[in-house]
């Protein structure tokens, strides 16, 4: 099996590997000597070096990865670009509330926005801008939401403390913020 299907097996594990695949790991998984694994890898790389291929095997971080050829980067970028231009206003508002008031539950967001937010929250979860961070110690144990690493990355923030302080443009604004905080969660201060 190994020798006949060597490069096929290698191709399969290369695709599935969650991290750059080292020669050592290949040898382990396939029950080969590292020397043999290296030969197989060379064979497979040659297969991928044929013209007409869109993929190539690249060495990275001490291992090998299956990746797209740089000359087709344009298309890959176009694919990975968002289909929609951005977030809807509703989504943006919900995201802002979650960012500034996290951790927060859906009912709490709904109380603020005055509308159901199931779908918006679902979408934000899908886009990995928010995530479930736990459950609130309240009846029904509702899920608590917070922002993700991707959220920070996207907005270029190191951490949440870097979120700009928000106030209304009038001097009353801070007051509102404080009053609401005071009312709803005595301990937290934005």
């Amino acid at each position: 099996m190994i020798w006949k299907h060597g490069t096929a097996i290698l191709e399969a594990i290369l695709l599935a590997s969650p991290e750059p695949l080292t020669i050592r790991r290949i040898a382990e998984v396939m029950g080969l000597e590292e020397r043999e694994a290296r030969i197989l890898m060379e064979d497979l790389r040659k297969q991928y070096d044929q013209p007409g291929r869109g993929l190539c095997i690249r060495e990275m971080a001490g291992g090998y990865v299956l990746t797209t050829r740089p000359e087709y980067a344009e298309y890959v970028e176009r694919l990975l670009q968002p289909k929609s231009r951005g977030l809807s206003h509703a989504a943006l508002e919900t995201l802002a509330i979650i960012a500034y008031r996290q951790p927060i539950t859906k009912p709490e967001i709904e109380a603020i926005r005055g509308v159901k937010v199931d779908r918006v929250v679902e979408m934000l979860l899908e886009r990995r801008l928010i995530r479930e961070v736990g459950r609130k110690d309240a009846p029904g144990r509702p899920v608590l939401y917070g922002t993700t690493q991707e959220f920070l990355q996207y907005f270029g923030l190191r951490d949440l403390s870097e979120l700009p302080p928000v106030s209304l443009d009038t001097s009353d604004a801070g007051l509102i913020l404080k009053r609401r905080e005071g009312e709803e969660r005595s301990s937290r201060v934005g």
Binding site: A12, K83, G86, H89, E93, A96, A99, G114, R127, L168
Partner: protein, 276 residues
């Protein structure tokens, strides 16, 4: 575990553990298969006896599941007793071809439906197992570098959005009703009504909108339309669906709770049946 089962004092050729069954229907299907009997002609006395015997084991499952098994036990006993009754003479005024109902019918229907979905579950299991041998892409570097799909949004946008939220909250507190676009809502609803001669579901009018303020506005707008005799609210059954219909389109024979189109007075609007 064995405790209650042993009380029966009858060594069974094979042991049946209640905990192994998904629920009462699962257990019943098992008994029916075991006895190799026709599901459409279940010897109910025999099956009931076996069922009751097995659920002696009830202490081995948690309370919720135990109650599910008990409910079925009651159903079986009920069917059994009804099977013993002489069949009532046929009442000819009813649907002529209808046969007297078999007490087992409902249960059989449930069992058949359940067994179909069990089969479907088996088919899904096969697919699951097939897919367990298939893997998709693991590591992919472009993905890690790329930003989440959020093209063209800046931190300022986010801040501004939150400011708007705060302002909304402020409005909510300080200006509860002044800005209500009631007239606009009246127009919207009468437009919707004009396009739905059959009427609109009362509830639909509310789920469509959203905010609490909009709920209030919608309600006020409805009252206004009813007051102006441009719409009627109809409820055909107690606790049934409330319909809002364009005035004059009310179908004959409908009993309308609350507001009738013709003899509508201003005070009548208050009688609009309240939800909940």
């Amino acid at each position: 575990m064995e405790g209650s089962g042993a009380l029966l004092g009858r060594p069974e050729s094979y042991t049946v553990h209640l905990a192994n069954f998904e629920g009462p229907l699962d257990l019943l299907l098992h008994l029916i298969r075991r006895a190799e009997i026709n599901i459409y002609d279940i010897p109910i006395a025999q099956i009931t006896e076996q069922y009751l015997e097995i659920i002696q084991d009830l202490s081995t499952v948690d309370i919720d599941r135990a109650s599910e098994f008990l409910v079925m036990a009651a159903t079986l006993l009920d069917i059994k007793s009804r099977m013993l009754l002489p069949r009532p003479p046929r009442i000819t005024e009813e649907l002529p071809e209808e046969e007297p109902q078999d007490p087992r019918e409902e249960l059989v229907r449930q069992l058949v439906a359940y067994s179909q979905y069990r089969e479907a579950a088996e088919a899904l299991r096969e697919l699951e197992q097939k897919m367990a041998r298939i893997y998709t892409r693991g590591f992919f570097c472009e993905e890690v570098q790329g930003p989440p799909p959020l093209q063209g949004l800046t931190l300022e946008d986010l801040v501004r959005a939150f400011q708007e939220v705060l302002r909304e909250e402020w409005n909510w507190r300080e200006v509860p009703r002044e800005e209500i676009p009631l007239r606009e809502k009246v127009r919207e609803i009468s437009f919707l009504l004009s396009r739905s001669p059959g009427g609109l579901r009362f509830r639909e009018l509310f789920t469509r909108g959203g905010s609490r303020r909009e709920v209030v506005v919608t309600f006020l707008a409805l009252l206004e339309l009813i007051r102006q005799r441009r719409a009627v609210a109809v409820q055909e059954r107690l606790f049934g669906e409330i319909w809002i219909r364009p005035a004059g389109s009310e179908p004959e024979g409908a009993i309308s709770a609350g507001v009738q189109g013709e003899d509508q007075t201003e005070g009548g609007a208050g009688e609009l049946p309240a939800e909940r």
